[in-house]
Symmetry: C2
Subunit: 597 residues, 2 copies
């Protein structure tokens, strides 16, 4: 069974050509983030991903996490893998130095995170949620909460969870019913059932810190009456040692299509009188706080999509190289590897070009996060944040929908062998299928995109992107190169189609939100595809320039030109089609009678 | 857990409006095939599918088939279900009356077959392969072979298999190595290993009749040296009773992503000296015979796609009706079922409109099979057969690729619940994922389409389809109805794009087959989408006419108009995009260096 191999060369290409690393490392707090440091970290992270996390992936899938009498055991070897992960300091990579983190810029940690996802997404999703809990406590926790929980969460000695969903409250958090009753000592008794809690119970660490949405007595109905509570599995004594077991119990774990290594828990809070918790931040602002974590988590789930695409691509490519079947078209009677067959090459290039586009977009967004966080200029911070806000639903929705398609192609390239579980290709599809669902379905992301991110500012943020695309189109036209010009033409057509759709959204949302909503997912796909074309267009320009200067690896750089060429012909061409759907009369969707479905 | 419900009303609509049932029942041998008979059969088949096959589907998935010491047990209840299936005469539905079949026209049996697939595809795939064996023996078997095997295969007392694949010979059957050595008594000793043999071993029947591809001594290399053999699991005595156990052994069964109820066997022939077999038809014509079965099987796998789409749609629709979450856009604060949310409606209409399009196309192709088989006029027979030949790779490739998309949407509509296996939505995706692979991958279908079905006759057969589309476009324009006109415009754009692509294929195939092959799958998708638009366009015309005449169920007929409207806006709009990919410079696919993948 082949192991994951971090695509270091591709990652470096993105960092060197699509991101201004000089600018990032000039930001306060990121002074150490040089290209050399990035290289060293990537090298070590790649080794860890390939050597430790990837070999745990199969056993995680086959044996999965198991539940017995309220206790959950992770798959054999996972505890040791987790300990090595923490011992290597990987857990703290992008956390704040104040609590023991390394404070690496997001642009670097995002690529490392892609590696964890590529090697073992069922493992890395637990890390990701702990980071979410860390961010929430950093941002909204009291000093006491910070000092109690943060150092041990940052080191990985404990893990964290996000407890939002209840049986009747999935996408609609206004329906949350869990109760939190204040106690004389300032704590709360938390009661209620939470479902779909990732790593809600496990044996990796001695304690688990649950962040829980619940309602205080008399809180307003709906989302305005939800508060956030920290509820540790074991209470923590003043000296930091573990005290009594809290009244939270894992009732069961789910039997899922994929990510079997990741325990998805049903948690009962307060079956024996109430779990002891403490309010985080202010009363009734829980949803707001959760959304801060949620945005980070959504971006991270996008990276899961990227990692899964890369992993599935690598496996399919290796199989296509090894598997001898048939003869070359127009060649002699010699049997060849299937990588020589045009349709297999088409599928590999679909996988590869989309993966590169997803990675490039996610990395550029991560760079904007760093600028939004640390740039000295307020206007730059604000514009960077607006770009991040615009792109988070796109990175989430488009990367994960792509991951389903790409991993499905990975199965297809294997033929019958892809359907046999031992091959490993099918696991990637099974694992990928959750990503367009959790942390907000694609429909939720698309609603966020068209409503809050496009209509609300009258299309200002997305038009700035379209202007940048126009600049790239002009640059692609300048050298009078056949391939670059072809890329320019496709990119321009796509951005015109997107522009028309943006206009439609902006003009229509106020008076007919339903009609916009009916096309919101196609809209999200368009934005993703155009953003991918924008970044691959920039990659193409960079490769062209390096080739002209005679610097760099010629074959590698030429492959970048060809990946872009393929992408604009086979992916970007879909943008005008999606615009037709967005702009079409949506009365069929509105008028179809419910009872005729 | 909800059970499958046969979409009788939709099926009747197709039969009454898209197929000339009067013509079919005027064909020799099909005189009894009235609309009334169809109605009665559909009703009973629907009951059997819902009442017997559907309840066996979940246990088939959970417990699957199990292997022990060379014996395979099907899941609990499956043997009884199979016996009821045979006792009901369902096995013999479309078989020739000469051997005990009912000789129903394909246009009716195909819709019944869709029901079996919708209810339990892991069950029905075994039936389908037995029918393949029946067809091969009917067509090429000796009288003795026919009388020995056919009555018991037709009744279902025994089942049949197709043994093509070997570890080194999947899509490329020229690499088949199994040996068949002639014996003095006219029989052959068959030796070799076959893999991926659907229902290659099981406990449903006392005997299994294997049809096996193997090479005789001194046979030419490649596909011209393959012969077909019949190798029963138990030899058959002259009186029809079972004799000695033959030298064929089930070494193992595969652990697959889906269709767990269907045992996929590795079979070893001749480990103890040679399995006794008899040649079917003439020496070295085995591949030709297999392709006759294969074409029937490919069409049938297309029907698996249709059945899976329908099943997945039903489950998603029922969930969307039941699941209350959020409030209606622009409505009051009342919580509503998610079927009210525009994006959920969009997904349901994607599922529904594609399912209806697939069913309509498959049924029209089945009607052409009947005419090709039984029409008294030779020219009609020939043209019908040419249409069938053109469409088989499309029905196979497009229905199955659609099934993967549609069942994936089925999971998505369920949100987090879709990822939990108990819900059942994920099983449909897992089951569907084999369909674009077995009986020839989509790449193989697409190669067949562009090479043998389009380029070889200079595009004649597909241009006849395009002419029919033009007629429908003209009819849609005539009534000056807004919806019909919109459908006409979309259908015309799509058919123009397809026409350009056909021209490209015809002009290019001879001199640059690779360049055509690089776009062959997009080409197949285009043909499928346009064929779907053609049939839904006809459905739209029929519904419009019935509504105008004031006959029929108004709400139902209006839903047909809206389904078509949705399809042309959200599916057919992709055709011009696919044409761009087909017509694009494919040098990126050809020139990408193998070592840069």
């Amino acid at each position: 069974m082949s192991e994951y191999s971090a695509p270091l060369k591709d990652m470096q290409f993105v960092l060197q050509n699509l991101v201004d690393m000089k600018e990032i490392s000039s930001l306060p707090g990121f002074e150490d983030a040089s290209e050399d440091l990035a290289g060293a970290i990537f090298e070590e992270a790649g080794k860890f991903a390939a050597g430790v996390l990837s070999p745990l992936n199969v056993i995680g899938d086959r044996q999965g996490a198991t539940w017995k009498d309220g206790e959950v055991s992770t798959a054999p070897g996972w505890k040791s893998g987790y300990e090595q992960f923490c011992a290597g300091g990987w857990h703290a990579l992008s956390c704040s130095p104040e609590f023991g983190g390394q404070g690496l810029p997001r642009v670097l940690s995002s690529l490392v995170e892609e590696m964890w996802n590529g090697a073992n997404v069922a493992f890395s999703v637990g890390i990701m949620l702990t980071r979410g809990a860390i961010e929430a406590l950093e941002l909204c926790g009291s000093d006491a909460q910070k000092s109690t929980y943060l150092p041990k969460l940052v080191s990985g000695e404990w893990t964290g969870t996000m407890n939002l969903t209840e049986p009747q409250a999935g996408s609609d958090l206004s329906a949350v019913r869990a109760k939190a009753t204040p106690q004389p000592d300032g704590s709360f008794k938390v009661e209620g059932q939470k479902i779909f809690i990732t790593y809600g119970e496990h044996d990796l660490t001695p304690n688990i810190i649950h962040l829980v949405l619940a309602r205080t007595p008399g809180a307003p109905d709906g989302v305005k009456g939800i508060s956030l509570f920290v509820v540790p599995k074991f209470l923590v004594n003043e000296d930091g040692s573990l005290g009594a077991r809290n009244d939270v119990r894992c009732v069961s774990i789910e039997h899922k299509l994929g990510i079997h290594g990741s325990p998805t828990a049903v948690l009962a809070f307060g079956d024996s009188g109430g779990a002891t918790g403490w309010m985080v931040g202010e009363e009734n602002r829980g949803l707001e706080y959760m959304f801060i974590m949620m945005n980070a988590a959504r971006y991270s789930v996008g990276l899961e999509g990227v990692g899964l695409c890369e992993r599935s691509y690598q496996r399919a490519r290796d199989y296509a190289r090894d598997r001898v079947q048939g003869v070359e078209m127009g060649g002699d009677r010699h049997k060849v590897s299937i990588i020589r067959h045009p349709d297999v090459r088409r599928m590999l290039l679909q996988m590869r070009s989309r993966t590169e586009a997803l990675r490039a977009v996610a990395t550029v967004v991560a760079a904007a996060m760093d600028k939004a966080h640390a740039h000295p200029d307020e206007a730059t911070r604000r514009q960077s944040q607006e770009f991040v806000n615009l792109m988070i639903p796109v990175v989430k929705g488009w990367s994960t929908e792509s991951a389903v398609d790409v991993t499905s192609l990975g199965v297809q390239i294997h033929g019958g062998m892809g359907y046999v579980e031992e091959t490993g290709a099918a696991q990637h599809l099974r694992d990928a299928r959750i990503t367009p669902i959790y942390e907000g379905t694609t429909g939720i992301q698309a609603g966020d995109l068209v409503g809050r991110k496009i209509a609300r500012d009258g299309g200002a943020a997305i038009r700035r992107v379209l202007n940048e695309v126009a600049t790239v189109v002009a640059k692609l036209r300048a050298p009078d190169d056949e391939l670059l010009s072809a890329v320019a033409t496709r990119l321009e057509s796509a951005s015109i189609a997107l522009d028309r759709s943006v206009q439609f959204v902006v003009n229509t949302y106020e008076r007919n939100a339903k009609s916009v909503a009916a096309g919101s997912v196609p809209m999200l796909e368009m934005v993703g595809m155009v953003a991918g074309g924008w970044q691959l267009g920039r990659a193409c320009l960079a490769a062209h320039k390096l080739l002209k200067n005679g610097s760099g690896d010629v074959d590698f750089l030429r492959s970048k030109l060809l990946t872009t060429r393929f992408y604009v012909d086979h992916v970007l061409t879909k943008v005008p089609a999606l615009a037709e759907a967005v702009l079409s009369d949506t009365s069929a969707i509105a008028d179809f009678q419910d009872d005729q479905f």
